[in-house]
Amino acid sequence: MEIQLKLYGSSKILSDKDTLNIQLPNNSNIEKVRDILSKIISEKHSKSNLENLPQTAAFFSEKDEVVNDNYKLKDKEFISIIPPIGGG
């Protein structure tokens, strides 16, 4: 299955586009997304200071609600990654 991850803040380093398509095994949850992101960062973005991102980021569903690590993803689902925030 594949999901579309909408990128915000520092996670935009992961792609030139606003979204990143991630391939996942069927019935994956958010915890699996964190694992895959860790791999992507260590393989392709090791100099980008993003090593903590998979653990410190929250994730929002398409309805803009926070989803927890057990949240089961559907094929083609659209979710947002929310890195640590800091406006003002």
Binding site: G9, I82, I85, G86, G87, G88
Partner: protein
């Protein structure tokens, strides 16, 4: 109307303190408190030229309204509140956030301003990328929406 919140796409518009002052004025107010946040030219000994603000627009607006309503319930139900935050590329000296509060008394006006500023920093999904004089740029670290217990 006692509440105005907006995320201002700065390429087309500017945040205006005059607009904020006009919004909060009322003969019921004994005090007005205004906090203006601007992009400054230095951070962590690096010369800053500008900041790009990224935001999850819908969630930011929801959070602004919730924070302002909480502030009213906590300090003064009759307060008039104006809150705008910039989105996009903001040069030094330009306004990044403006909070204006009109309230019956000064203590509540100060407290509401402070409360809103701190809660925006901790609740509203907004991110900053600093641009430096040497051509480099960096996303700043922020406050995780996960608890320490959740972070492995």
């Amino acid at each position: 109307m006692s509440l105005h919140t907006a995320l201002v796409k700065i390429e087309g518009k500017k945040i205006s303190s005059e607009k904020a002052k006009s919004f909060i004025i009322s003969e019921k107010n004994g005090a007005e408190s205004i906090v203006v946040g601007r992009v400054r030219n230095e951070n962590d000994r690096k010369k800053v030229t500008a900041v790009t603000y990224d935001a999850n627009d819908k969630v930011v607006i929801k959070s602004f309204q919730s924070i302002c309503n909480d502030a009213k319930n906590k300090f003064d139900k009759n307060a008039k509140i104006f809150l705008e935050h910039a989105k996009g590329y903001v040069y030094i000296r330009e306004i990044s956030i403006l909070i204006a509060v009109g309230s019956g008394h000064r203590d509540e006006a100060f407290k509401i301003c402070r409360y809103i500023l701190e809660e925006v920093k901790h609740q509203s999904p907004i991110w900053k990328k600093e641009h430096y004089a040497d051509g480099k740029e960096e996303w700043l670290s922020g406050h995780s929406l996960r608890t320490k217990k959740q972070i492995k």
